[in-house]
Every structure is written in structure tokens, then in C-alpha cells.
Symmetry: C2
Subunit: 229 residues, 2 copies
Amino acid sequence: MKFYDLSGADNKRFSPFGWRVRMSLAHLDIEEHTEVELVKFSQKDKLKFSGQELVPVIQDKSTIISDSWRIAEYLERNYTNQPTLFSSPTDKANEKFVSSWVDSQIHPLVAKCVVRDILDVIDPNDREYFRRSREARFGMSLEEIVTNRGETRSLLKRTLFPVRKVLELNPFLGGTSASFADYSVFGAMMWARITSSFDILEEHDPITDWRERMLDLYDGLARKETARG
Amino acid sequence: MKFYDLSGADNKRFSPFGWRVRMSLAHLDIEEHTEVELVKFSQKDKLKFSGQELVPVIQDKSTIISDSWRIAEYLERNYTNQPTLFSSPTDKANEKFVSSWVDSQIHPLVAKCVVRDILDVIDPNDREYFRRSREARFGMSLEEIVTNRGETRSLLKRTLFPVRKVLELNPFLGGTSASFADYSVFGAMMWARITSSFDILEEHDPITDWRERMLDLYDGLARKETARG
């Protein structure tokens, strides 16, 4: 199986959606059977075979799947004998809820904290494209986007309220062990961790304890990636 | 079992948390075994025995439980032989996520749409208290809070994004059938439906189809309550 993931300079892998897939592969204990193909912003023609231009993409023999949610569904269906990423159909619907919530309400806030810093960790050839496309999307310069990131972090803290409520009752969003909901929120954390020295969580936020647990999972898979300190 | 629920004038029951419990009781097919005690804002001394002053409260022989989440947990533990509100421990954690998300991100927006209208449906004796306490909370008059509710509804629509994404895949947030996550979001809808003629969903929002399905559940339990048309 081939796994196409986004890459910055020095093979830095920071895509939040890539991290969802990476953690899911480890969860299902099939990461070792996966060959990783890194794709820089300027190498999107590598993804042409998939009929779209966004990572992550999985190619498993003749099967080609893009979109982290559909990849998780595919892996669950083909690589386990029993449900493990989604414990039941009801749970699966709820995991979809959490991942869509991250897409729509967490990613924009994390972007507003770290988008300027991403520029420094991507390949120099990708910087002009990145600056131009992101500045068009936000309607201001990368530097302006992050100017008030202390305030953005406060808003992010309030938005993360439901995460905090679940973690009051359980060590993971999935309950006693991590599930796709955890990987979805954690993907956003890894996106920031690899690209920026700005901590998107305030000190003493109980979510930091959960983040440490997530960094420890699967022999410290995520912790081994070089954080931008 | 006795179920203490909030009441306005003419026994109108509009509490979003009360609706979570009501739908859960119907889900578990025990609504008939429940005696309802209505509590107006000015009758909070009726709840004194529970050691706090918020509805909903359940009294089951010597057991007293407040807080809709803890009530659901209690009902699930004591009135079923198999999981039905929460299909698995992982699912339960995710249902907690959705209900906490409704508490923190949906209720404030619904309140900003209907808080002025609530005044008209509560007992005349409760109106002074209601106005004073809500105006203090929002820092402006009830009339000012709802002035731009068209805009609030647009923000609500964007915030409901994850609900829409799950409903693209399934008829209910719980998948093929309704679960506590559905009742949590639906509680917010009923809160608005009973108290206001302002529709918090825009026309053509696919969530309206789900709302119709929810109104039909359990022999039209929720539809039978008089909406403010």
C-alpha cells in the first residue's frame, strides 16, 4: 500500500489530514506495510492518478482513495476483522461529527495561529505559491493573519470546550482508548507542532495532558517527528 | 419515577435539556412510567430536595439525579438490559462530545434568536425575573439581543456544519436510528419551536428534513406539543 502525504522542507510532514491517516495506520498496526510517498506543494502532479490534487491519498493495488475520512473507512473495512476505528455504526456517525467539527471550527483557528510559520518549513520553491494562495484566501498578508494570535488562541480554547468535557470523563475522546475522533483533533495539534513554536494551547489547559498521551501512542510515533521548538 | 421539567404559561415545556430527557425516556420506552412535575421559574423551591435549582431532575424512589447527561446515564444503566442510548463506551464518549458542543456552541446562538420571544410564553409572574437575569447575562435588553437574528441564524448555519456532514451519510446523528446526540441537537430545536415563530433554520437547509424525522419519532411525541406558529 502506498500512502501519499504532504511534505515541507527536510521531509517535514505536517498535514493535519495526513496525521489522521498516519495515526489510523498505526492504530490498525499496518503502518509497516505502507510505503510513504512525500508530495510537496509544487509536486501535485504526483497525485494526478487520483483524479484530484489533495493529500492524503492511499493506493492499494488498483484501489485509489483520497480524503482522510474515506481512507479511514477503507482501512477499517479491509484491514480488520472487527471494528476498531469505529466501534459501532452509531459511533462511526459520531466520529464523522467530530472530524467535520475539526475541519470547520478548529482548523481555521489553528491556521490563524501558524500560517505564517508554515512558510518557513516548506520547500523554498513552494513559498511563493503558498503565500499567494493563503493571502488570497484570508484577504490579508500572512503576517497580518497571525498578528493577534493570542486572541485567536483564546477563541480556540473556548471552541475546544467539548473536548475538555469528554476528557473530564475519559483519557481519550474515544473513551478508554484513542479513536478517529482523537486522531482528528490531534492532527490539528501536530500541524501546529511541526510548523510553529507557538503553542496553540494555553498553559494549564487540561487538553495538554491528553496531547502528551497522544504523543506517546504507538511507541511515540508522533513525538519522534521533530517539533519546531 | 418523577420527572421535573421546566414550564411556561399553559404548561408549555420548552427546556432544551428537558427535551433531551423526554426523548430519552421515549427512546427507552419508559415515558409512561414517569410522572411529570412542571416547575416554573418562580417555583424553584420545588427542586430544593435535589440540592440545586436547575431542571431537569429525576427522582426514582430514593435516587435523585439532576443534569440531563447524568439522567441519561442513569436511565441507560437502570432501565435497559443492553446499551441503547449509547451503543459502546467509545460512542458514549462521542455522544458526550456532541451534547457538550450543543451546550457551548449551539445554545448561545439559539438564545440570541429567541430569548425575547420566551418572555411571551412564560408565566406572567416569571417575566420580571426572566428579563432581569437574561439582560444581565447578555449585557443588553432582550430586544437588542434579537435585533440581528438573521445574522445570528447565518452563524448558526455555519456552526451546524458537522451536523449537516453526518446527515449526508445517515438519516440520524446516531446513524440509522436516533441517539442522545440527536436528542441534544433536537432539544435546541424544540426550545425555539415552542417559544418562537422565528425559524432558526434557513429554508432548504437539509437539517430541516432531519428535524421533521425527529418530530415524527415516538408517535409524533414532539410534534404534538403546540409550536408557536
